[in-house]
Symmetry: C2
Subunit: 324 residues, 2 copies
Amino acid sequence: MACPNIALIKYWGKRDERLVLPTADSLSMTLDVFSTTTTVELSPAASGDQVTLNGTEMADEPYRRVTAFLDLVRQKAGRFEAAVVDTHNTVPTGAGLASSASGFAALALAASAVYGLKLDDTELSRLARRGSGSASRSVFGGFAVWRAGQGTGDEAESSSYAEAVPTPDLDVAMVIAVVDAGPKSVSSRAAMRRTVDTSPLYWPWVESSRADLVDIRAALERGDLTAVGEIAERNALGMHATMLTARPAVRYMSPATLAVLDRVIQLRRDGILAYATMDAGPNVKVLCRSSDAQKVERALREGTSQTFIAHPGPGAFLRSGDSR
Amino acid sequence: MACPNIALIKYWGKRDERLVLPTADSLSMTLDVFSTTTTVELSPAASGDQVTLNGTEMADEPYRRVTAFLDLVRQKAGRFEAAVVDTHNTVPTGAGLASSASGFAALALAASAVYGLKLDDTELSRLARRGSGSASRSVFGGFAVWRAGQGTGDEAESSSYAEAVPTPDLDVAMVIAVVDAGPKSVSSRAAMRRTVDTSPLYWPWVESSRADLVDIRAALERGDLTAVGEIAERNALGMHATMLTARPAVRYMSPATLAVLDRVIQLRRDGILAYATMDAGPNVKVLCRSSDAQKVERALREGTSQTFIAHPGPGAFLRSGDSR
């Protein structure tokens, strides 16, 4: 079982596509909602893997991503049985919230256990990374930083993983405003690649994002939620700025996104701690005090299709029955 | 008389506030609508200048900007009579379209004539620049480039002026979509300064804007309106990206702005040449073929408060009666 995470310092751009090595460190909060539960069973007699998602057999590209990941696990384990993978996602359908982070974190944990790999959290995070970069962070609960690692090849492969960021008790929540459930015009993978390849502002943003990471870690350490929010919001706007300057431009912000951002500014004028972050889609996630979460949710409800309140959640864990 | 201009390569950031020296060259199209007509008369007996705008006496900061400009003209002319300035703007009230470019171009022309300065276009452009940077371009009709100039002090002062960009006959129009007539949250002067001072993406954007200028001049020379539009749109998005990354962020794009941008994308999908540019406000100006202008205007009418069609217009000119 694993939960999604929302990056406060964004992962936007790979320096190695195959090994899923990012251009910079990122930092996220793992949520306590929208968990993915994945069961892996060995199926020695089968000729290939069978993968179901919410009861429906997976095919094509999503299926191939899972079997390629299982191949990696089998190679590490030196065992080559086929598997039956059964995944249940609690992300509401059409909510436009990515489930690859929770999905690959849960799969990494269940598959490594069933193939007999005994991995510590660092090794598990490194493995999950190969399925989906942000999955490396969902191995951990609360706040986690994913290190970009250094060098190339084996050195890079082993130096890029997430780790927990210890924080004082933070009275923090995240309100998720779903503004559009339509399909994306550009996949986040393609958008990321295009930004790295064509935006003249990409590398300067990476530099500024590295500085943001140092700043937000210090803010988290001292429990300064206002600073955490300010840094997260500027980091997200910076990421979207790099996309606007990709060629052709990528714009995930819709009119409804800006309407939510306007309301977040109004909340701050009204004295409520509220800061926005957006990923590769039009939805807005608003960081606030836990005690203000319902007030924030009410303020964002109008003009949005769904809203959810989340808090810092647990890291990936194995339940009896997740693998056998 | 002078008309406003719309920058296709933006002026965003000064390297010298007092002399109004920009950080980079910019390029614009002067419009054939929204002209400003300014009459200047000497008033030797008066103790100070009298300035009216559309029949109303000006005061405070706008008045002081005009008298400071007249002081500059008087100093150059070596004559120190007070003046009566009467300005009529045809920009529809509340359209949210800046009139400082047409205003200071018209004032520079009328005031320099009445104080006996005999200025050629280059000298007039340099003078208009001191009133408002973009006014330097409204001295010229059609397309004009404003050179940033080089160095500091006198060298810089004399090397920064606009000049006409000769183009082949272009079948070009600009549809202006007014989406919001409310007052700005941040003045463009303050936003410009904040961007230069705080955005980590500002100087990289300036570099890319310099490259855009080279590209758009080549596109104008060969009459390639598609390339002109593409370059103008990416340049504008880049400018707004730098504002998003100012600290605190400046965002002039409203939900309605993005709704217009979405419609421009749809127009392109429908095979119509249409590219957007936005200045320090929520309005959108769409470059298109003259023959498509009415179709584009119809497409943008919904959700906007006013739309206008403009074409390349004349440079500043003196009519009998503008100065005496």
